[in-house]
């Protein structure tokens, strides 16, 4: 499936124009022309345009993906006033995706920005297959696992996230993912010690090809934390993961000592800076995944804004 992505990318990449080079200069200096070319051939489907969706959309449109489709059947409510910067004032009741298009498009005329009102629950496998990446926000676990399965079948990269007040998470299932990683080159054989070498502009590094196998969300959520063989892992697993589970489901079946209640006043709504952190990480993971450059975070990122902490947990069956 991944090869499908690879071939698509190669097929679509033409030369970067002078105009693109000027606009994307500062990021091309970071991730290189090839990554930028892959990025600009990526078609992204973004589900739900709440505060988190707006952050993801902003970051991906600025980065220069080929197209971004914002899918949302819901009307704007007064709570969007607190976090959704694409929604102009006085638009309560209008469709969240449609009303976001104009301001989102202004960020970068080179990206095709569109809106769809279909509920995500009605998305078919064929529809999902029209995209290279699917990012789902604001969906219950049942819907995420359904979408994740559709993506798996069609080789579409799947990422998801949500924000609860000061807390938030990101999840990624990139299937079997191949990527290039730069690793520092250790002392040259027979060469002089590092300090003696003339300092050049860049530390030496070489690019290696790596592969990472991801776990579908359903399997990750199916982990039985009370099982004997999970005890050791449990001790080292971040509290924030369980706080997240508690917020999404209920306390049922979860180790309750991991879930305090001092935080309850801090897990309401989509707090703007929490959306910015999770949306920033989510978008960066999309960029990494599409450009096949750098090791992706596998497979959960968990954010706790009360303690200014962001943890990456690998949770697999």
């Amino acid at each position: 499936m991944k090869t499908q992505l690879g071939s698509m990318v190669t097929f679509e990449s033409g030369d970067i124009t002078e105009e693109e080079a000027a606009l994307y200069d500062r990021q091309i200096r970071l991730w290189g022309l090839d990554a930028q070319k892959r990025l600009r051939s990526a078609r992204v489907l973004l589900i739900h345009m709440g505060g988190l969706g707006a952050e993801v959309a902003k970051n991906l449109i600025l980065a220069g993906v080929k197209s971004l489709t914002m899918l949302d059947p819901n009307p704007v409510t007064s709570s969007e006033a607190s976090c959704q910067f694409f929604v102009p004032a006085g638009q309560i009741g209008a469709n969240r995706a449609e009303v976001s298009v104009e301001r989102a498009q202004r960020l970068n005329p080179m990206v095709s920005v569109t809106a769809e009102k279909t509920p995500s629950t009605e998305l078919t496998e064929e529809q999902v297959a029209r995209y290279d990446v699917l990012v789902a926000t604001g969906c219950p676990d049942s819907e995420l696992t359904r979408l994740n399965a559709l993506c798996r079948r069609r080789g579409v990269l799947f990422l998801a996230g949500d924000v609860y007040g000061f807390y938030g998470f990101m999840f990624a299932d990139l299937g079997r993912h191949e990527f290039a990683e730069e690793v520092p080159v250790l002392a040259r054989p027979g060469g002089e010690p590092a300090q003696k070498r003339p300092r050049t502009e860049q530390p030496e590094s070489r690019t290696v090809k790596r592969t990472l196998q991801f776990t579908p969300l359903e399997d990750a959520l199916g982990v039985d934390w009370n099982a004997e063989d999970r005890r050791k892992t449990l001790r080292r697993t971040s509290d924030v993961y369980f706080i997240m589970r508690a917020l999404r489901d209920s306390l049922k079946g979860l180790p309750t000592d991991k879930v305090g209640d001092a935080f309850t006043s801090r897990c309401l709504g989509e707090l703007s800076p929490a959306c910015a952190v999770v949306g920033g990480v989510l978008a960066q993971e999309v960029i990494k995944a599409v450009s096949q450059k750098d090791k992706p975070l596998s497979n959960f990122f968990l954010f706790d804004g009360y303690n200014s902490e962001g943890v990456v947990e690998t949770i697999a069956a």
Binding site: D15, I16, E18, A21, A22, L23, D25, R26, Q27, R29, L30, G32, L33, G51, K58, N59, L62, A63, G64, S78, S79, A81, S82, C83, P88, A89, R106, L107, N108, F166, P184, Q195, P198, R199, E201, Q202, S238, S265, L268, G269, L271, S272, P273, A276, V277, G279, G280, V281, A283, Q284, K295, L297, F301, F303, S308, E309, G310, V311, V312, E313
Partner: protein
Amino acid sequence: MEGPADILPSTLKKSVVDAKLLLVGAGGIGCEVLKNLVLSGFKNIEVIDLDTIDVSNLNRQFLFQRQHVGKSKAKVACEAALGFNPSVTLKAHHDSVMSQEYGVNFFKGFTLVLNALDNRAARNHVNRMCLAAQVPLVESGTAGYLGQVTVIKRGVTECYECQPKPAQKTFPGCTIRNTPSEPIHCIVWAKHLFNQLFGEADPDEDVSPDTADPELTGDAAGSAALSEPAREDGNVERVSTRGWAAQNDYEPRKLFRKLFNDDIRYLLTMDKLWQKRRPPTPLDWDTLPDAVAGSSSSSASDSSLSDQRLWPPAECAAVLERAVGRLKEQLAARPAGDHLVWDKDDENGMDFVAACANLRAHCFGIRLNTRFTIKSMAGNIIPAIATTNAIIAAMVVFEAFKLLEGRLDDCKTVYLNRQPNARKRLLVPCVLEKPNPKCYVCAEKPEVTVRLDVSQMKLQALEERVLKAALNMVAPDAELLDGRGTILISSEEGETAANAPRTLAELGVRDGARLRCDDFLQNYELIVNIVNSTELPDGQEFEVVGDASQLQPAAPAPAPADGEAGPSSADAGGSAAANGSGNGAGKATTTVDDDDDLVCLSEGEDGTGTDGEVPTATTTVGTPAAKRPAQSDQGTPPAKKRRALSGSESPEVIEL
């Protein structure tokens, strides 16, 4: 009615609504911070930034679009943020935060100050203003994938200047003028050449052969000059480079011949220089190679972009010819006596530097680079992306929440890593450091020691390069503590002008002298202890030492030991040296220009860049990066480690 603050916990809501904030910088981090503040329920915010919007900002400074290019960042950012919530009160200042208008009383008017700057000089200045005004400061910076946020509160935490920052990278003048061995030496030379020909000529930026090279002993240089038949003036006393160019009407071939043939041949006569080096080759316009040596070259396969293609020497000469012609016209269009200012984003100035740097590299057998790469190095560009800025800006707001809730003990220095550390953290909170009792800025009675040669240094250099550039004062007064209260420098115009050209020794400043220096704007008084020294390491005209106990030369810092966080320091040279690490390079300096979002505490991207951007003469990225912890989180990084990092190389481009 429902407002954004309604989702905040009750302990926070009122203080958010009542707070008055100052946001310094409306670049990469600043735009994101402003959005978060407005959407979080803050009602009263002032934004200051002296910069205007550039196309290269648009990939991340999302409050700006193409039609805003050239406009004030502060103003456009405030207008855009009002669109998110028209009921907030925003005030934009299109101005330098270092201007006299923004004194201690101005700063006292705010509950908190949030820095989103891209250069060290402005960071140092705001640090001092907040210390003086007793207002808590949240500092931030990014470089590429890395970022950092910290909190500064007088008497409780380290201030921005408590720890040494990596010094500005400088090169000895003779390396630049006589014996370049790396591309950066040629690039620095080309920027100096630009200033000599079109910009503000600085005697420290001479580009002609340096006969005072310490490698030459007595007779070599002098006799070489006399025996050089090609010299047009036949005289050791030389016409200024600018004067010479003007006399020749900036004729590109004549310039080329002087720079890449006559001067190179002159260098060849200094044979001591070439006993252990490959001698340079004089170039001839008509026989330049039109293919790149080693062929199949080119860094990026994508050669449709002229920036990314390696120009062969013949093409460099053609670019030089075109650029000189256009720059000459630009200069002629200015009022008499005025000059151009080099800017990496000015096409002709950048073409000129790229072409000259490569031609010089070709003379010396140094690897040529693409214009794209030379631009990074010459402009000291720190790469910047929207996602890193968005994450760091959000962490700025979370620290601000803690301050407003009275949770000062919970405030942290937060690092954004490229990959999770050994404890799985991507965003790493670390305990704030206590103030350094010997800090020359925030200590009760700050003192600093400066080594210099009192018989060589002129008072003007003390004021410009030590007090202003290295110690970051804006308008200093200085009094010699000799029992008579001799005033050496007065910030009142003209009062002490007669002293400027005199050496310190002539003014009675000797080894062990104490100077009381005072900056009224910063409300900052500093005792400067003078240690006379005639042997400072290469090219330095002075050295700032934190305190006298550190007088032994600091060991060169090892490369960063910390693979995990992986940052090398991003500090680009900047004018201000921090405690104990200053080196006054009187000679050639890579002046960094700009840009960036920098880090280490700094993002401003581009000092241009920075996302924070504030303007000052030299842009540096100030990065508080000096202390990125390795794997430890929640814990103070060991001092050793920090020191090591602080010495890492300053980057031509970098991540932190």
